[in-house]
Amino acid sequence: MGIWVSFFAVIALVVIPLVGAQGAGQYLFGIVIPYLAVLTFIIGFIYRVVQWAKTPVPFKIPTTGGQMKSFSWIKPNPIDNPSSTGGVIARMALEVFAFRSLFRNTRIELRDGPKLDYGSNKWLWVAALAFHYAFLVVFIRHFRLFMEPVPFFVGALESVDGFVEIGLPRLMISGVVLLLAALYLFLRRVAVPQLRYISLAADYFPLFLIIGLATSGILMRYFIRVDITSVKELVIGLVSFHPAIPKGIGVIFYIHLFLLSVLITYFPFSKLMHAGGVFFSPTRNMPNDNRARRHINPWNYPVKVHSYAEYEDDFREKMIEVGLPVEKE
């Protein structure tokens, strides 16, 4: 059910600007909605992050992924089991930039015998990396549209991205990779029974949105051309707070922009917040140094305990009988 609901929701999100982005409607889809979307994204994102940040971390609970630091003669694993801030930074950097934990992924196979085998399973890691980095490159490439002059790194990135030198305009690998990776992430959800079982509408919806976003972008660049000068005029207008709608931008642009607006509006309310959340994860962002440095729980409170005196009162006779020392004879 989740698949179809999400699918038709995204189809509807394509149809709405298709119908609506005409005449005055262009002001709505070209100016009002993008502004609202960005505003929602910024406020929503900050709200969520602040909410996490102000929730206390009562205990230091890193998941240790290697040997701890103990003796000088035992080799510690300073990254997977960090004992210092430097180690934590390295661990987090590997997690954020290289998806370290996902790289560990294995797949079990239960054969007759019984015999359990553990196979390497890096496809999710590969696809996730491809997806996120392609998205990043595509995002940076878009700087060309809202920065004048175009920063040098955008040009540099484009020349790398377009290295295959096919077609006119030159094919950008990142867009294709983004689309393929998103398709893969979708297909595995459908094809792997266990994944299909755990998937919710909230898992399909953003994938379809991104697939729609990438598709409309690719269509716009290679097939249904729009006047890129006008598009840049519009975007520069938006970012400089002098919004205006130039004439003659095809509807495909408004579809692209609307899908993006929906995506960033949806972002703070959804699982997409993992982007901010990963930095707050107490099992990853804390050193395993509890025994050397005391961690403070801000809400630690006294509890009722069974004191030694009460214990001795319960058992004094028996203790004396076997010669155990007591406080009160």
Binding site: W52, T55, V57, P58, K60, I61, T63, T64, G65, M68, K69, S70, F71, I74, D80, E95, F99, S101, L102, R104, N105, T106, I108, G113, L116, Y118, L124, A128, Q194, L195, Y197, I198, L200, D203, K271, H274, G277, V278, F280, S281, P282, T283, R284, N288, N290, R291, A292, R293, R294, I296, N297, N300, K304, V305, S307, Y308, Y311, F315, K318, P325
Partner: protein, 576 residues
Amino acid sequence: MAKVAPPEELAKVDHTPPKKGWMDMPVELKEGRWCYGSKPKDHEVTGLPNPRAWSPGDEDWKLPENWQEIFLEGMRERLDKFRSFRLFMDICVRCGACADKCHFFIGSGDPKNMPVLRAELLRSVYRGEFTTAGKVLGKLAGGRKLTYDVFKELFYYFFQCTECRRCSLYCPYGIDTAEITIIGRELLNLLGCNIDWIAGPVANCYRTGNHLGIQPHAYHSMIEFFCEEIEEITGILPEPSLNRKGAEILFITPSGDIFADPGTFTAMGYIMLFHYLEGLGLDITWSTYASEGGNFGSFTSHEMMKRLNSKMYAEAKRLGVKYIIGGECGHMWRVCNQYMDTMTGPADFLEVPKSPITGTVFENAKSHKMLHICEFTADLIKHGKLNLDPSRNDQYKVTFHDSCNPSRGMGFLDEPRYIINNVCNSFFDMPINTIREQTFCCGGGSGLNTDEIMDLRMRGGLPRANAVKYVHEKHGVNLLSCICAIDRATLPPMMEYWVPDVEVSGVHELVANALILEGETKRTMNLRAEEFPWVEEEEVEEAAAEVILEAADEGVEEAAEEVADEEAAGEAEGEE
């Protein structure tokens, strides 16, 4: 106790989920997978809510009138107190990397045992009761209301998680199901829904100082009994002290090792090691008040964990020791490493641990002021302070089971291996995907080592057992050593079921087997009072040597033949 199917049958696990969505699958509490309910008398000892006679098998769990309100209020409170909980409710993308990492999913095929889905059981309630989208869109936004059935489902599955944290290792965001289970159980406990196997030990520990309810005089006689056993084996009678003020070090170990085999051999190992070290300047005492290293309170709530854990520092203070040494135990060390100093510290009345024998200062424990016995022993061995004869463990081909908590809640991996390699001659690690940080649970951690769920335990134990089987077949491994008292209780039946012929031991049992005490008699048996397999052979050889001498003297050929016969007979017996 529910009957467990034979291994061949149990191993036929279907991992394909059902057609129907999980929210539409009504909860079915299967025999052999749920634990008995907590008893009212145990609630009363510690003041746990809602004492009443109940069973999870009953239709009516006798919850208070306003149970939903209590549960949801408790959830709100914890969302505000634990960043981990709020974050883990918010950011899961359901990528599925954790799905086949759980021993219970591998062994049972129940999709709700996939860590992601176990967490979703509670996450759906979070979305349905706490987020706008979930309240408005319901199932479409992955939200559910907290119904009676949902509540039962939460109980059923939070007591099918051993808090081993294996899933959290593979999660790209470090989402830790143990953390969710810990808080989930805390919420269940608000309504008095605990299991007997946890609430009982908690009540015992609160009152008598240990989970098994061993009273001080009985504890005393058990230790005395061990000493007599040791005398039997070594000819030396150690005299450990209990509750002695002014000792330099307090020793605390799980009571399971005092109570039942094979843990008792580890307890004897400690006594022998301490006796050996007394001559070198060790001044150590045991305690009957703090006679529990483990902490079943941590399987109940954070508060109960603290109420039980407090005894360690309190007793150290009362006895005036300088620091504490803790025995081999899994979840004990999760609590000691990640919670104790924060909850019950600062231990400013203690000193930074310093080995009285080697002079090593343990900077890594300078705030907590407590050492793992394996750290202590490894340091002794490194400094050559122990007189060891590893050949006395030659009947064993050893492998090592990394317990979940020291592995993923501490990173205590190489210290025990270092010790084993110094006290045994043949050691073989299991395959890499099943050891160290990737280790598998024994199937009975976090208070699930109870017999009524033997079916679940054998299923959960499958991955661990399978790895043991691999080294058993490849290298002839016959001993599974570990540094956890729960393991020593759960692994023997698990081995008997999946890999017969493999025994279970603690590390310090092996240490004591190899340890040469000053003035000991010639050892002919191990700590289990089993004669060394080579003893008989040696006797035969000695006898044979005598006969040969006689034969040489008399020059009779027949005597030589007799020797040959006797040797053959001896060998045959040895093989048996």
